[in-house]
C-alpha cells in the first residue's frame, strides 16, 4: 500500500504545480510589471540642466514639490516606443496635466529634431546624458513614466510605452484619484 501511495506522489505534485500554472494564466496579471521601490517614497534627488537647444527649463527634484501632480516621462529620441507613446503624452499635456521629461542618454541634435518633428509636450526637460538620473529612478529601459504627487512622492510607475488602453485603464484613474485627494 505504501508503495502505491508513493507512486501517486508525482501526479499529485504535478497537479499542484499545474494549478499554479492555470492561475498564472487566468488571473489578470502582468508578469512584466515590476513594482518600483520608489512607490510612496520621495522622488530621488537630481538636478538636470536642459539639453542644449531646447527652449524649456531643466528639471530638478525640487520642481516636483508643490506644483501639483506631475507626470515624469523618461524618454530618448533613439527609442522607437517613445515615438509611439508620444501622442498620448501630447494628449495628457493638452488635457491640462503637468508633463515633464527626462531625456535619457541622448544627443542634443537628435533631441531637437525629435521635438521639432513630433512637438513638445514637456513643460521642463532635464538632459540625462550619462544616465545617472535613470539609475536613481531605477528604470529598466526607456520609456518609463512615473506619476509624482504634489508633495514630490512617487505614486505610480509605468514601464514601457503608454498605449491608449494603459491611459484609460491605469494612468487616468491614478491621476483622477490623486487630483480628488487634493494633489
Amino acid at each position: 500500500m505504501g508503495r502505491r501511495l508513493l507512486l501517486l506522489v508525482p501526479i499529485a505534485v504535478f497537479a499542484a504545480v499545474g494549478g499554479f500554472f492555470l492561475w498564472g494564466l487566468l488571473a489578470d496579471r502582468d508578469p512584466s510589471a515590476i513594482p518600483s521601490m520608489l512607490i510612496d517614497r520621495p522622488a530621488p534627488d537630481f538636478a538636470l540642466a536642459p539639453p542644449p537647444g531646447v527652449d524649456v527649463p531643466g528639471l530638478t527634484s525640487e520642481d516636483l514639490k508643490g506644483n501639483g501632480v506631475t507626470i515624469v516621462n523618461i524618454f530618448a529620441s533613439w527609442c522607437l516606443p517613445c515615438r509611439i507613446e508620444h501622442p498620448v503624452l501630447e494628449g495628457l499635456s493638452s488635457a491640462g496635466n503637468r508633463v515633464v521629461g527626462i531625456d535619457y542618454k541622448d544627443k542634443p541634435a537628435d533631441l531637437q529634431a525629435y521635438l521639432r518633428e513630433l512637438g513638445n509636450p514637456y513643460q521642463r526637460i532635464g538632459g540625462d546624458q550619462n544616465g545617472r538620473a535613470g539609475i536613481d529612478w531605477g528604470i529598466s529601459g526607456v520609456p518609463e513614466t512615473f506619476i509624482v504627487d504634489g508633495q514630490g512622492k512617487v505614486r505610480y510607475r509605468h514601464v514601457g510605452p503608454i498605449n491608449p488602453g494603459d491611459l484609460e485603464g491605469r494612468i487616468q484613474p491614478v491621476l483622477d484619484a490623486l487630483k480628488r485627494a487634493g494633489g
Binding site: 507512486l7 499545474g18 499554479f20 500554472f21 513594482p35
Partner: protein
C-alpha cells in the same frame, strides 16, 4: 502558392499523425500485425509532410515573400541569407514548426533503425510519438499558423531582433530542440513499457542510444546558448539563472540522471520503476520549457510574444501529456517486477546517489524558477529569484555529486570495497588538496573557489586513474597497456571524456566567477586603462557600413608588461530597421583566459566608454562542454549500441547471468 502548399502539407501531417497515434497502438493491444505495420509508413509520411511544410516556410523566408505575415514580422530583404534561414525558427510559429519537424525526424528514426525492436514495442513507441505530434501540430495549425498571409503586403519586413542575428544563435535552437524532442523517444519508450507492463535489460539498451543522442544535443545546445550570452550580451557572464536558461537546464539534469539509471536497468535489471519515472519527468520538463517560453507566465529576456490562448493550449497539452503519463505510471508501475538487489556501497549505490542528487538539483532549479509564481499566487507580491538563491541551494548540491563521480566508476557492481577504492584514489586526493590549498593561499577571500577547484582536480585525476587502472598503466608492460587501451569499449572512453569534461567545466566556472576582474573608463584616442596585469590602449573609433546595419568600430591595443600582444576591435552596431543598437564584443582568447572588451556609447566629443573584463579559465567552459559532447558521441558509437540490443530474454534469468 508555396505558402499554401506548406499549409496544406501541415494539415496532411496532422491527419497522418491521427493515423499514427491510433492504428499502431490499437494493433499492439490486439496483437494485430496488419495494424501494427502501419506504424512505419505513418512515421515516414509524417516526416515527409512536415518536411515539406518546413521547406515551404524556409522558401518564403529565402525569397522574402512579404505576403506571409511571419516573414514580414521576422525578416528583412537586406538580411544575410544565413539569418534569413535562421529567422525561420527565430519566432514562435516557425520554431514550433521546427519542433514538430524534429519530432518527425526522431519518429522516422525509430521507424527506420528500429528494425530490431519487437513489433509491439515499436508500434507503441511510434504511436506515442503520434500522440505528441497530434498535440503540437494542432497547436500550430489552430493557434499559430506560420503560413498566415497579410494583405496588402508591406514593402519590406520588420527584421529579426539584431541580438539574434548571430551564427551561434542560428544553431542554438535546433540543437536545443533536438535535445528536448529527443527525450520524447525515451518518454515514448516509457509509456510503451507501462502499456506493456514490462521493463527489462533489452528495453534499457534500446532506450539508451536515443537518450544519449538527445543528451548530446542538449549539452551542445546549452553550451552554444551560454557562449552566445557570453559574447553577444556584453555583460561578461555566461549564465544568468534566467527562467529560459533554467528550463533548458532542468531536462539536462533529469536526462543526465536518466542516462545513468538506464545503465543500472541494462546491467543489473534494477531501478526500473525509477527509470520510467525519470523518462517521463525528463520529457515533462522539456515540455514545461516549451510552455514557459510560450505562455508569458514568467518574465524572461527571451520569451516569445505572449498570447493567453496559446498559453492555455500548451498548458492543456502539458496536462494531458505529463498528467496522463504520471497517472498511467501510478496505475501500472506496481506491476513492474523489482529486479536485482545490491548493497548500498556498490556501483548501483553510487548511481542511485547520483540520481538523487541530480533530481534534487533539478527540483531546486524548478523551485527557484517557479517560486515567484507561487509567492504571487499567495498574494505575496512580486519577487525575483536570482543567482544568490541558486548559489546557496543548487551549487552546494553539486559538490557531493562531483565527489562521487570520481569514486563511482571504480566501484564494483552489487557490493564494493569502498576503502580499497579510496586507496586507489590517493593520488587524486593529494593533488586535489594541493591545488585547493594553493588556490586558498593565493587568494584567501575565495575559500569556495578553492574548494570547488579542489573538487574539479579530484574528479579529473580520479577519471584518469580509473582509465589507468583499466589499462593497467605502469603495472603491465607497455605493449600490454596499448592492447588493453585499444580493447576498452568506446563507452568506457565516452564516460571518461564526459566526466573529465565536467571537471574542466567546473574549473572554468570557478575561474570565471571567482577571479574575474573588470574595469570601465571613458577614454579619448591614445589614452589607456588597466585591467589586472593588462593595459588597454584606445586608438579611436571609425564608422563603417555593414550589410543591414551601421557600425562604429574601435581599435584597442592590448599590452602586457608594456609589450603589444594583440589588437581588439569591439563594435557598436545600429540596426535602422529595428531601431536598436547592439554592441559586438571583442574577445582575445588564450588557453588560460579571455580579455573581453565592450564599446559603450560615445559621448559625442571623441571620447568613448570602454568596459573590459578579464575572465580567467573561461575558455575551459566550452572546452569541457566539447569534451562532454565528444564523450557522448564516443559512447553512442559503441559497438554494443550499434549492433543493437540483444533479443529479449524469454526468462529473466539468462540475462542476469550474462550481464553480471
Amino acid at each position: 502558392m508555396i505558402p499554401e502548399l506548406g499549409h496544406y502539407a501541415l494539415i496532411l501531417a496532422l491527419l497522418v499523425a491521427l493515423v499514427q497515434g491510433s492504428l499502431p497502438v490499437i494493433g499492439a493491444a490486439r496483437n494485430d500485425p496488419a495494424l501494427m505495420a502501419t506504424a512505419v509508413p505513418a512515421a515516414l509520411a509524417q516526416l515527409i509532410t512536415i518536411g515539406l511544410a518546413f521547406l515551404a516556410l524556409t522558401w518564403s523566408y529565402v525569397v522574402s515573400d512579404f505576403t506571409v505575415l511571419n516573414v514580414v514580422e521576422n525578416s528583412h530583404s537586406a538580411k544575410p541569407l544565413i539569418y534569413k534561414i535562421a529567422g525561420v525558427w527565430g519566432n514562435h510559429e516557425g520554431s514550433l514548426l521546427l519542433w514538430v519537424l524534429i519530432l518527425a525526424v526522431f519518429g522516422a528514426g525509430v521507424a527506420l533503425f528500429g528494425g530490431n525492436l519487437p513489433e509491439r514495442l515499436r508500434a507503441r513507441v511510434i504511436g506515442v510519438q503520434g500522440w505528441i505530434a497530434i498535440g503540437f501540430l494542432s497547436f500550430s495549425l489552430f493557434t499559430s499558423n506560420p503560413f498566415a498571409r497579410v494583405f496588402p503586403p508591406p514593402p519590406d519586413g520588420q527584421d529579426l531582433n539584431p541580438l539574434l542575428q548571430d551564427i551561434g544563435l542560428a544553431f542554438h535552437p535546433p540543437m536545443l530542440y533536438l535535445g528536448y524532442v529527443g527525450f520524447s523517444i525515451a518518454f515514448a519508450f516509457a509509456i510503451a513499457a507501462l502499456l506493456e507492463g514490462r521493463v527489462d535489460a533489452a528495453w534499457a539498451r534500446w532506450v539508451r542510444p536515443w537518450t544519449l543522442a538527445a543528451w548530446i544535443c542538449l549539452t551542445a545546445g546549452i553550451a552554444l546558448g551560454s557562449r552566445w550570452a557570453y559574447y553577444e550580451l556584453g555583460w561578461g557572464g555566461w549564465w544568468f539563472w534566467d527562467p529560459v536558461e533554467n528550463v533548458s537546464f532542468m531536462p539536462w539534469l533529469m536526462g543526465t540522471a536518466l542516462l545513468h539509471s538506464a545503465i543500472v536497468v541494462e546491467k543489473r535489471d534494477a531501478l526500473k520503476v525509477w527509470t520510467i519515472l525519470l523518462a517521463i519527468l525528463t520529457f515533462g520538463l522539456s515540455l514545461l520549457g516549451t510552455f514557459i517560453v510560450r505562455s508569458g507566465l514568467l518574465t524572461s529576456v527571451h520569451a516569445f510574444a505572449v498570447d493567453p490562448a496559446r498559453g492555455l493550449y500548451v498548458l492543456a497539452l502539458l496536462g494531458i501529456a505529463v498528467g496522463g503519463s504520471l497517472l498511467l505510471y501510478a496505475v501500472r508501475a506496481p506491476a513492474l517486477k523489482a529486479g536485482g538487489l545490491f548493497a548500498p556501497v556498490s556501483r548501483e549505490g553510487a548511481l542511485v546517489l547520483n540520481n538523487l542528487l541530480l533530481a534534487t538539483g533539478a527540483g531546486t532549479v524548478l523551485l527557484g524558477t517557479l517560486y515567484p509564481l507561487f509567492v504571487e499566487a499567495f498574494g505575496g507580491g512580486r519577487v525575483s529569484v536570482g543567482a544568490p538563491f541558486f548559489n546557496l541551494t543548487f551549487v552546494p548540491l553539486m559538490l557531493p555529486l562531483v565527489a562521487i563521480m570520481a569514486v563511482g566508476p571504480l566501484l564494483a557492481w552489487k557490493r564494493a570495497d569502498l576503502a580499497g577504492v579510496l586507496g586507489r584514489l590517493k593520488l587524486a586526493f593529494l593533488l586535489a588538496v594541493a591545488v585547493g590549498v594553493g588556490a586558498f593561499w593565493a587568494e584567501r577571500a575565495q575559500i569556495m573557489a578553492a574548494l570547488f577547484l579542489a573538487f574539479a582536480v579530484w574528479l579529473f585525476v580520479g577519471t584518469l586513474v580509473e582509465w589507468a587502472e583499466r589499462v593497467r598503466l605502469l603495472r603491465a608492460p607497455l605493449r600490454d597497456v596499448w592492447t588493453r587501451a585499444r580493447g576498452l569499449p568506446r563507452a568506457a572512453y565516452g564516460m571518461s571524456f564526459a566526466h573529465a569534461g565536467l571537471a574542466i567545466v567546473v574549473a572554468g566556472m570557478v575561474g570565471s566567477t571567482a577571479w574575474k576582474s573588470e574595469a570601465t573608463a571613458l577614454l579619448a584616442a591614445g589614452q589607456s586603462m588597466t585591467l589586472g596585469d593588462y593595459t588597454l590602449r584606445f586608438e579611436g573609433v571609425e564608422s563603417a557600413p555593414g550589410s543591414n546595419y551601421q557600425s562604429d568600430r574601435a581599435t584597442v591595443v592590448l599590452l602586457l608588461d608594456g609589450r603589444e600582444i594583440g589588437e581588439l576591435h569591439p563594435e557598436r552596431r545600429f540596426y535602422p530597421v529595428q531601431g536598436t543598437p547592439t554592441s559586438e564584443t571583442a574577445i582575445r582568447t588564450t588557453f588560460l583566459d579571455d580579455v573581453y572588451v565592450v564599446l559603450e556609447e560615445g559621448e559625442g566629443r571623441g571620447r568613448w566608454t570602454l568596459r573590459a573584463y578579464h575572465e580567467p579559465l573561461v575558455p575551459w567552459l566550452w572546452l569541457g562542454a566539447a569534451a562532454m559532447v565528444l564523450g557522448g558521441l564516443l559512447s553512442l558509437s559503441d559497438r554494443r549500441l550499434r549492433v543493437g540490443a540483444p533479443r529479449r530474454a524469454r526468462a529473466g534469468s539468462a540475462l542476469a547471468a550474462r550481464t553480471a
